[in-house]
C-alpha cells in the first residue's frame, strides 16, 4: 500500500523553510556553494540555491558531487553508473558548502560525499541538507537542515519524486 506523505505544497514549504534557515545560519560568512548528490539531490540543490538568492542577494553557486567511487559497498552491489561531478568555477576552498540529498537513511551516502568533497578542496564549513530524514542511521551523521522527519520501518520504501526527473513533486511510503 502506497501512502503519500508529502505533496507539492508541502515540499515547496519545506524547501522554503530550509532556504531561510540556511540564510540565517550563513550570517557573516562569504560564499555559498550548493552541491547536489545525484540524482535528485541535484534538482533540490538548484531549487535551494534559487530560493536562497531570492531571500537575500548573495554569492551563491550550484554544482554536482558524484559520490559513486567513494561508496563502501561497491564490491557487494551491482555496478553503479558514475555521474559527472561539476564544481562551480569559484571552487569550494574557504566557502560554505551545503551538500544536498533527497533522503537521509543509513548516512553512508553522506559519508561518501564528505570523502568525495575532501578530494576536491577544503571548504570552511560543510553542512548537510535533506528533504526527508527517515532515520535508521548506521553512522554518526546528522543533517543540519531537514525538510521532514519521517519515522519509517526498514521494510518500508520511501519514494521521492521531483518534477525535474519524475514529472511530479511527491514523497510516498510503500
Amino acid at each position: 500500500m502506497t501512502r503519500i506523505v508529502l505533496s507539492k505544497p508541502d515540499i515547496d514549504r519545506a524547501l522554503k523553510r530550509i532556504a531561510h534557515e540556511i540564510v540565517e545560519s550563513q550570517r557573516g560568512e562569504s560564499g555559498l556553494v550548493f552541491l547536489g548528490i545525484p540524482t535528485r539531490g541535484i534538482h533540490l540543490a538548484q531549487r535551494l540555491a534559487a530560493l536562497v538568492a531570492e531571500i537575500e542577494p548573495q554569492d551563491v553557486s550550484v554544482g554536482t558531487l558524484d559520490v559513486t567511487m567513494f561508496r563502501d559497498d561497491l564490491a557487494a552491489k551491482s555496478t553503479r553508473m558514475t555521474v559527472p561531478t561539476e564544481i562551480p568555477a569559484s571552487g569550494v576552498d574557504g566557502r560554505t558548502v551545503v551538500l544536498v540529498d533527497d533522503v537521509l537513511y543509513s548516512g553512508r551516502t553522506a559519508r561518501s560525499a564528505l570523502d568525495a568533497l575532501t578530494a576536491i578542496g577544503r571548504p570552511s564549513i560543510v553542512r548537510l541538507a535533506v528533504l526527508v530524514d527517515r532515520g535508521h542511521r548506521e553512522l554518526p551523521i546528522r543533517a543540519d537542515f531537514v525538510g521532514k522527519n519521517l519515522p519509517t520501518s526498514t521494510s518500508e520504501r520511501v519514494n521521492l519524486s521531483l518534477v525535474e526527473s519524475d514529472g511530479v513533486d511527491e514523497v510516498s511510503i510503500a
Binding site: D66, M69, F70, K77, R80, A119
Partner: protein
Amino acid sequence: MKHLLSTRDLSRDDAVAILDTALDMAEVRQRDVKKLPTLRGKTVANVFFEDSTRTRLSFEAAALALSADVTTFTAQGSSVSKGESLKDTLQTIEAMGADFIVLRHQHSGAAQAVVDNRWVDAHMINAGDGTHEHPTQALLDAMTMRSRLKGDAARGSDLDDISITIVGDVVHSRVARSNAWLLHTLGASVTFAAPRTLIPRGIDHWGAKVVDTLDEALDERPDVVMCLRIQRERMSSGFFPSETEYSTVWGMTPARLAALPDTSIVMHPGPMNRGLEIAGSVADSAQSTVTDQVTNGVATRMAVLYHLMGADS
C-alpha cells in the same frame, strides 16, 4: 561483467557505459587530488609475458589511481625461463593475493584459456594476446574518437555516424581486430586499407570494407584515419617490397593529411615508426590524437577495473 577478454563480448550498452565512466575518470585525472579510494585493499597483478611499456604503465597508473595495490610480473628473468607453465605462474600470483590479473601473452587466446579452464578466480583483463585482441586499446580509441569528434555531446552516444579508415599491418594487429569488432558494435563504418599480404583471411566476417589503396579510402574523407604500427618484430621479410615503398603508398604523409577535412583526426596506438606508417609532422599535428590516446588509456582502464569489480560481475 567479470572479465574483459574480447571486445566481441561487449554489447553496445556495455561499451557506452564503460566509455561514460571513462569520461568521469578523465575528469578526476584533472583534479589536484587524482586518486579515488574505489579499489583500496584490492591487488592488481600485471602479468606481462611480452615486452610492453605503455600498456603496463597505463594499467599501473589506472590501478594506482583507484588506490589498488599493484604487483608486476615480467617473464624476463622469471621462473618462466625455468619452464613454468602459464597455469602455474598465474596460480602462484593469485595465491599471493591478486584480485585482478592483467595478462599480456604472446599466444592468441591465452586469457580466454585461463578463464575457460578456471585456472584462477581473479578478474581477468586481456592486455593483448598474440595477434588476436587488445580490448582496452579499442576502448580507449573509441573514447578518443567520441571525445574529439563529438565534444560535449560524447556522453551516452555511440559512433553511429562516424567513418574510420584503419591502415597498415592488419594481419598482425590485435589492435585492428579489437577495434573492428568494437567499432562495428558501436555502429561506426570501418574501412581497412592495406597491401593484400597484410590482410588476414576471414576479414569478410569483420563487418568492414577492404580497399586496395590508402588514397581510395581517403577519397571518402573519413572522420578518422588510424595508422597501425608496422610490427617489424612479428614480421619475416616478404610482406611488402621495401620500407620506402610502404611509406610512399601506405604512409600517412603531410600531403595526405592536407587532403583530409580539418575536422578529421589521425590516430596511432604507438609506439610509432615515424617516417614509415606516419610522418613525423603528421604525428605532431593538431589533428593527431597520439597523446590524447595515452591520456585516455589511463581513464579507460580505470573505468574497466571499476566495471569488473561489481557484484553482478
